[in-house]
């Protein structure tokens, strides 16, 4: 009986959470301009999206491209900066360690709008013209702390003697770094990269304040401007549906694999 209600509760929450997404997906198969009015089944919007032939709205594709590009660059730099920083922080002691950890926490505690406004003021103050570079710098700022927090546990789990042993056995410090330290930290770096990438993809407020006036749009700012203008580009519906499907499939594959690995380990 308890089990039944527990399941029911989860299902009700899931149905509520997914209702808007299903709503978008259903209405991606009709041609109407407005979300919510049905004008017969059609795959026209998908064809428009995939061939890039949209009624004067090719900027949607540019926005998607910007979003992915910015996320990739920001995640790559954050992973590099965050991993080096984590090694440093791990070897710091006492008060210094506390201060750096505290500084690292600030971008995570600050709401997006504070990060966005404060960086906006920085770039204004320095007379730095805003565009791609400022958006990427801003994204690195709020992504790196998550990389640091993903890599630090791996350093704590690692046996520090392995690195020393490599040196004793004749490895140069750089060999020891690439052959011993980096492989040990790799899982943390990968999850840090993924976290940074998704944070960057999903960002709206920080990009909004740091993109300047050169007409740079990511998916979020594109949707915002579009909605403020009054109507959403219909092709956003098939785009969102496709993104949703890709993520769903990826996540299910990753998790089914993890489940299996876990079960194999348990059986050993």
């Amino acid at each position: 009986m308890g089990k039944f209600f527990a399941r029911l509760y989860l299902w009700i929450l899931l149905i509520l959470l997914y209702a808007p997404l299903v709503f978008i997906a259903v209405f991606s198969f009709t041609e109407s301009k407005v979300l919510g009015s049905w004008e017969g089944f059609s795959t026209h919007l998908y064809r428009n999206l995939l061939t890039g032939q949209m009624q004067g709205n090719a900027s949607l594709l540019a926005a998607v491209e910007n979003t992915v590009l910015i996320a990739l660059i920001a995640a790559a730099f954050s992973t590099l900066l965050g991993t080096v920083a984590a090694i440093g922080i791990h070897n710091l002691k006492g008060r210094k360690k506390k201060v750096v950890s505290f500084l690292n926490n600030i971008p995570m505690i600050n709401p997006d709008i504070i990060t966005g406004v404060s960086l906006f003021l920085l770039f204004v103050f320095l007379h730095f013209s805003q565009g791609y570079v400022t958006v990427i710098l801003a994204h690195i700022t709020f992504c790196t702390p998550y990389v640091v927090l993903s890599v630090l546990p791996k350093l704590q789990q690692m046996n520090p003697n392995i690195y020393e042993a490599a040196l004793d056995l004749g490895a140069t410090p750089s060999q020891a770094l690439w052959k011993v330290l980096v492989p040990e930290l790799k899982p943390g770096m990968v999850s840090g990269f993924i976290l940074a990438f998704t944070m960057s993809l999903d960002d709206f407020a920080v990009t909004f304040f740091t993109r300047g006036t050169i007409g740079l749009d990511t998916l979020s700012t594109y949707i915002y401007t579009d909605a403020r203008k009054g109507g959403l580009t219909p092709e956003l519906r098939p785009l969102m549906t496709l993104i949703f499907l890709v993520i769903l499939i990826l996540l299910v594959i990753i998790n089914v694999r993890q489940d299996r690995l876990q079960k194999q380990n348990e059986n050993k």
Binding site: P20, L103, L251, V252, D259
Partner: protein, 255 residues
């Protein structure tokens, strides 16, 4: 390994430049007039501006209600998900986090449209529903993480020693899961106060939240007043983090 600690230097420089300096600038701009002279005028303007004050009050109210609703709905969900008896697969928890990967603005617009189609007028009710909808996963995940890692034998021991399951839950499980709840509150409360796009879409511009007036001032080049409003928010963040003694634990629960 002694000089390895030097590896933190590039990041410290980066943090000082892109985190500390910008926050100092928020403060500097907040206490300056447009000519760059020191003034308390921006803060005074906020405390005498009826619209800004009521927006501020509404934002805090909505954020409190949203946080409470997220805990009320999210805690049981996290508990069920972490309980092996009810949930054996990791896929279910993924289903709860998955909507976070879809663009939040798009989800919000779809929610608003869904309400309009069902004939519900956009206002306070739809705003709260949409907020809970957007932030619930951020509450479920940290609580789930703490509950899943928790040693179940504490609660079992309490039952063995004569506590009712209900009592064991309230006196053992809930206190032990507090780091997850704190972390969830951190991820829900301040972001709710500061959202701007979401409240505009869900209420058809009827209800403004604090984030919106910051955004409006910055965008209409009223940087000093905008900075002053941001500064007020920074002070609130400072106060809320002071209350949070187990901060490191709480953040550990995020990942």
């Amino acid at each position: 390994m002694g000089k390895r600690s030097n590896w933190s230097i590039p990041y410290v420089v980066f943090l000082v430049f892109f985190v500390v300096l910008p926050l100092v600038l928020v403060m500097v701009y907040a206490f300056q007039d447009s000519q760059g002279h020191f003034t308390l005028g921006n803060l005074a303007k906020f405390f005498t501006d009826k619209d800004a004050l009521s927006t501020f009050a509404v934002s805090i109210e909505v954020a409190l209600e949203n946080t409470a609703l997220c805990i009320l709905l999210g805690y049981p969900a996290a508990w069920i998900l972490a309980n092996k008896q009810y949930n054996k697969s990791a896929v279910t928890i993924v289903l709860f986090i998955m909507p976070m990967w879809i663009n939040a603005l798009m989800r919000t617009l779809a929610t608003a449209q869904l309400f309009t189609m069902l004939g519900v007028t956009l206002g306070k009710g739809t705003l709260l529903f949409g907020m809970v909808y957007d932030y619930l996963p951020f509450m479920i995940y940290p609580i789930y993480n703490v509950l899943a890692k928790m040693d179940k034998s504490y609660a079992e021991a309490a039952v063995d020693l004569g506590a009712t399951p209900w009592k064991a839950f309230w006196k053992v499980t809930v206190p032990l899961s507090m780091p997850g709840v704190t972390s969830g509150i951190l991820m829900v409360f301040m972001p709710t106060v500061s959202t701007f796009a979401i409240s505009e879409f869900l209420t058809n511009n009827k209800i403004k939240l604090f984030g919106t007036i910051i955004q409006e001032n910055i965008n209409s080049s009223m940087w000093n007043y905008g900075a002053a409003l941001a500064f007020i928010m920074l002070i609130i963040i400072g106060i809320t983090t002071l209350f949070d003694k187990d901060k490191e634990q709480a953040e550990g629960a995020l990942i």
